[in-house]
Structures are given as C-alpha cells and as structure tokens.
C-alpha cells in the first residue's frame, strides 16, 4: 500500500466518526445502571451475590456486635471501628456497631463476606465525596439509611453506527 493511500485511509476512518453519536456518558445528568442492589453475601452457601461494591448498608436489627467485619478490615484498610450505640437490641448486648471511614475503605467487600448474620451489605451508592475528613466517617445511624439513587442509563448496541449511552 502506498503512503498516500495509507494516509487517506487513516484520515477516512477518522472522518467516518463525525457522523457517529458520541459514546460519552454525560455523568452528572446520566448514571450507568448497576446490576442488583449491591454486593451481598450468603453465609449459608459461602457465595456472594453479584452487585456493585459501593457504600455499605447496616441492618441494626441483625447486627450482634461480634466485630468480625472489623477484624477482617484490620488486614486490609483499618476502616472499620466498633462504636457504642444508644439503641437496645436483645441480640446486641454490648451495644456496639461498625463505623466505617470511607477515607480508608478500599471497597473490597471482605467485611461483607465476614458477616455471618446477614447484617452488612453493600449498595450502589458511590457518590461519597465530602469537604471534610470527618464527613467521610459514617456512623451506624448513617449506614442504616437506604441510599436514594437514580441510575437508569444502559449501554445500547442496537444503533448500527456505534454503541451509545442511553
């Protein structure tokens, strides 16, 4: 192939893309849809359930304060510390629950694997930025809140000119 033909072909393959809709995801307006409600773990079978590893969700009525999540995190990120809570649950005599520092968390999900009482799951919430370091520390009360998220955009392949978002 001659030099001129090669250059023309290269330019042509770029020019073809002028007519193609952009692949870009317009992030704050559009958010990609995840699978399921976040990463979960079933201790009876020992296998996880596929989902995004985002912010945790703590179920206070299941947590026994056994500290297994905190022990698992000691070898990874030291993000989980057990704190006193003012609630009274009959399964949680010590009244301690995990508090998670998202400045340290690496979102590996091994704390979820460690929990044998179905009380710690992960959610699709990944927008955790804060102006202060203290704002990244989530107390058990904050972890109890179900995140309010709207993620609905999916990749579409039906357009013959190229894949697009939404």
């Amino acid at each position: 192939m001659g030099t001129a033909t090669g250059i023309i072909k290269a330019l042509n393959s770029g020019i073809k893309h002028l007519a193609v809709k952009r692949f870009t995801l317009r992030y704050p307006e559009q958010k990609l849809k995840m699978v399921g409600d976040g990463y979960q773990f079933d201790p009876s079978t020992g296998v996880g359930i596929a989902g995004y590893k985002g912010r945790h969700m703590l179920f206070h009525d299941h947590c026994t304060g056994c500290q297994l999540c905190s022990i698992a995190c000691e070898g990874v990120a030291e993000a989980i510390s057990m704190v006193k809570v003012q609630e009274e649950w009959k399964q949680n005599k010590k009244a301690i629950m995990p508090q998670i520092d998202y400045g340290k968390c690496v979102f590996c999900g091994l704390c979820v694997d460690a929990c044998p009482f179905y009380s710690l799951y992960m959610t699709n919430d990944y927008e955790l930025s804060s102006f202060t370091k203290e704002g990244l520390i989530y107390t058990p009360a904050q972890l109890q809140v179900k995140p309010n998220i709207s993620q609905d955009v999916e990749l579409k392949f039906d357009n013959p000119r190229g894949a697009t978002h939404g």
Binding site: M1, T3, G6, I7, K9, A10, N12, S13, G14, F23, T24, L25, L32, M34, V35, G36, G38, Y39, F41, T45, G46, V47, G48, I49, A50, G51, Y52, K53, A72, G75, V76, A77, V106, F107, C108, G109, L110, D113, M122, L155, F157, A163
Partner: protein, 378 residues
C-alpha cells in the same frame, strides 16, 4: 579556565565535550514512575540506564503479615488495570497449598474475567502508546472502548478496576442473571471496534515510518536476555503459558498465539492488539463451554492453615509470564510470597534497544516493551 597555577595535589579531569547526560523522569510522564539516565551524543543515544524503584510498596513483605484471604486486596494493586491476572498465580498457588479443588464453572468464569482484564490493560497501554507517539485519536479510542469491558467487569465483579474477584477456591460471587447475553454483545461490538484501529494506527504510514526498525531485538537476543510476553512473541518465539502450561480451563480452549518475526517496535506494538482479537475468541469459546449452573466457590474455613510446603505457579498476564512463589510454614499467614513479574524481565533489554536510537524515538521504543513501572517495583 583561569591561568593561575593549581594548588598542589589538585588535578582537573578532562571533560567530554560531546556526551551529555539527561535524566528522563521520574516525574516526566513519558517515563512512567521511573527514571531513565540517557547519555546523548547530538541526537543519538549513546547509553541508557533505567533506574526503577520509585514506586516500591513492599507488597511481598506485607503479604507475610496477612492471612491467605486478606492478602487479596493488596496483591492485586501492582497493576490495577490487570488485577485479575496479577492475583491469578497467587490463587492457584494457595489452592495447591490448601488442597482446594476449584469448581468447573468457576474455572471458566476466571478465564473470562482474566481475558476481559487483559483487554482492559492492553487498551490502557495502547492509549498511552498512542499519545506518546503524538497520535491523540489513538488515546481517545482505546480509552473509550475500554469502557465496554470495564462496565462488563463492574457488573460481574462489583468494581471498575480493583475487583478482588478471585479467591483461593474459586470466585467471590456468581455472575448476574443475563450475563452471557450482556457479555457477547460487548465482545462482538468490541471486536468490531478494535478492527477499526488497523486503518488509523497500524496501517498508518506515519506510524510505520516512526516505529519500523526502531529498537530491533533479534530472536536470539530475546531468548538470551530472558524477555517475556509480547516482547518475546514479537521476536518470533511462540511462547505463551496459556498454551504451554495450561492452567484452569485454558487447556480445553483452542488458542492461536499471535507471533511476529520482525522484533522491532512496530511488531511489539502490534502483538498486544492481535492478543485482544484472540481474547475475544477465547471469551466466546469459554462462554460456549461453560457449565450453565453449579457452584463457583469452595467454602473456606476461617483462617485456613497451609502445610509445610512451597509452591510456584505462573500465568500469562498482559505483560508476559507472571509467577508467584508461596511458602507455607503451618501458619494462617504465608511465610513468604514472591512475585516474579514480566515487566521487570522486559526492562533488562531496554539498554540494548535504546543504544544508537534517536532521543525522539525513546518513547516509541520504551513503551513498546509493554513495561509497567509499578509492577516491576512491587
């Protein structure tokens, strides 16, 4: 020079008037997190001395204080874009130490995950290679198309880059419900897209004139210097651990290893691209042969203990052979974990390749080695 006589005992050395020393890096983006001490005569490189070690993080020492499962998140950090492949030899080794039998479905899902990861890594590398050759379209296209597989891995494993997906005894979670449909759609579109790179990049006369015959590595030298991966295969050696020492489900799949004979920067940059096309074939085969249901993980005891044993396993990563040596001494923690990485092996041939090149061609030769500084330093 002043004409005053020198004090007794002092001598002035003769200065070389032609040779100048340049430090490329460690902050310079063209070198990655490392320094290359280059001596130039005019525009030609007289000698190049790579100086790695700026991103040493002590992964191997850290592994001695954590148990076999908690080692997973930090051992995949050396190459976050290729995190499944970096973790693969460790998982294979620990499975042999603990005597675990991986379920059949998990073996195929591991193959799919590591092939997806290989493509993600190669696309990232190709984007960097393109931008350092001044081809900014080749930065945008791979960086955008990479998103297809990152999205797939996110749905499969729950994280975009550091997946923590493999575990001794299988994989962490089963895949979502309509996984095969989602995957095949992306693989077909991805293959169509990367075939378009040929016209704009690989058949482009400007790229060919820049990289053809730059940094030539002969077949004998490639074997003698111990290179691996795409660098070795670009010099005409057909060596791929997926075929030579099949691990997990690779033995049951039909793999055509791409090999080129030229051994120059152009061939080295083309091999990863051919690898990606081959990866698409492997994924399609794996999806077809995969058992449709079944267990994906062996249940582990808390704090599993290995016997008094040692094991060495290696896999083919995006950069070549990647080995992991694990020693166990009847404890929940490994006694020693050693990673033998492809990047560091490929670095050895760099001083040979850069000698006699023009300084402007340094990024073309250096990045064609498929070298990842963070992996080399561990």
């Amino acid at each position: 020079m002043s004409s005053t006589p020198l004090p007794p005992g002092l001598q002035i050395e003769k200065v070389d008037e032609r040779i100048m020393t340049l430090n490329v890096g460690p902050q310079h983006p063209g070198s990655g997190h490392m320094r290359i001490i280059v001596k130039i005569d005019g525009d030609y490189i007289v000698s190049a001395d790579p100086d790695p070690g700026y991103v040493h993080r002590g992964e191997e020492k850290m592994a001695e204080y954590r148990n076999y499962v908690l080692n997973i998140p930090h051992l995949e950090r050396p190459v976050i874009h290729d995190s499944c492949n970096v973790l693969y030899p460790y998982c294979l080794g620990v499975e042999e130490l603990l005597g675990l039998e991986v379920p059949e479905r998990a073996k195929y899902l591991r193959v799919i995950a590591s092939e997806l990861n290989r493509c993600v890594y190669i696309q990232y590398w190709l984007a960097i290679y393109g931008i350092f050759l001044g081809h900014s379209t080749m930065f945008m296209w791979p960086a955008g198309d990479r998103e297809l597989y990152i999205d797939m891995l996110e749905k499969m494993t729950g994280a975009r880059v550091t997946h923590s997906f493999f575990i001794p005894g299988g994989i962490r979670n089963d895949v979502p419900a309509n996984f095969e449909d989602m995957l095949l759609k992306r693989v077909n579109y991805f293959e169509k897209r990367i075939k378009e790179y040929a016209a704009i990049f690989y058949d482009n006369p400007i790229l060919i004139s820049r990289t053809r015959d730059a940094g030539k590595l002969s077949r004998e030298d490639a074997i003698r210097l111990g290179t691996t991966g795409s660098t070795l295969r670009a010099s005409g050696v057909n060596f791929d651990l997926r075929v030579k020492e099949p691990y997990d489900a690779y033995g049951e799949l039909d793999i055509n290893v791409p090999t080129l004979k030229e051994g120059d920067a152009y061939a080295r940059s083309k091999i990863p691209w051919l690898d990606m096309l081959e990866s698409c074939n492997i994924i399609r085969q794996a999806v077809q042969k995969m058992p449709k249901s079944g267990s994906v993980r062996v249940k582990l005891k808390p704090n599993p203990k290995g016997g008094n044993d040692e094991v060495y396993k290696r896999v083919e990563s995006g950069r070549g052979s990647l080995g992991c040596y694990v020693v166990s001494r009847n404890a929940p923690e490994p006694y020693r974990v050693k990673l033998s990485v492809g990047s560091f092996r490929n670095l050895i041939c760099m001083p040979y390749l850069l000698k006699g090149e023009k300084l402007g061609n340094m990024p073309a030769v250096y990045w064609s080695l498929n070298y990842w500084p963070v992996e080399a330093d561990r």
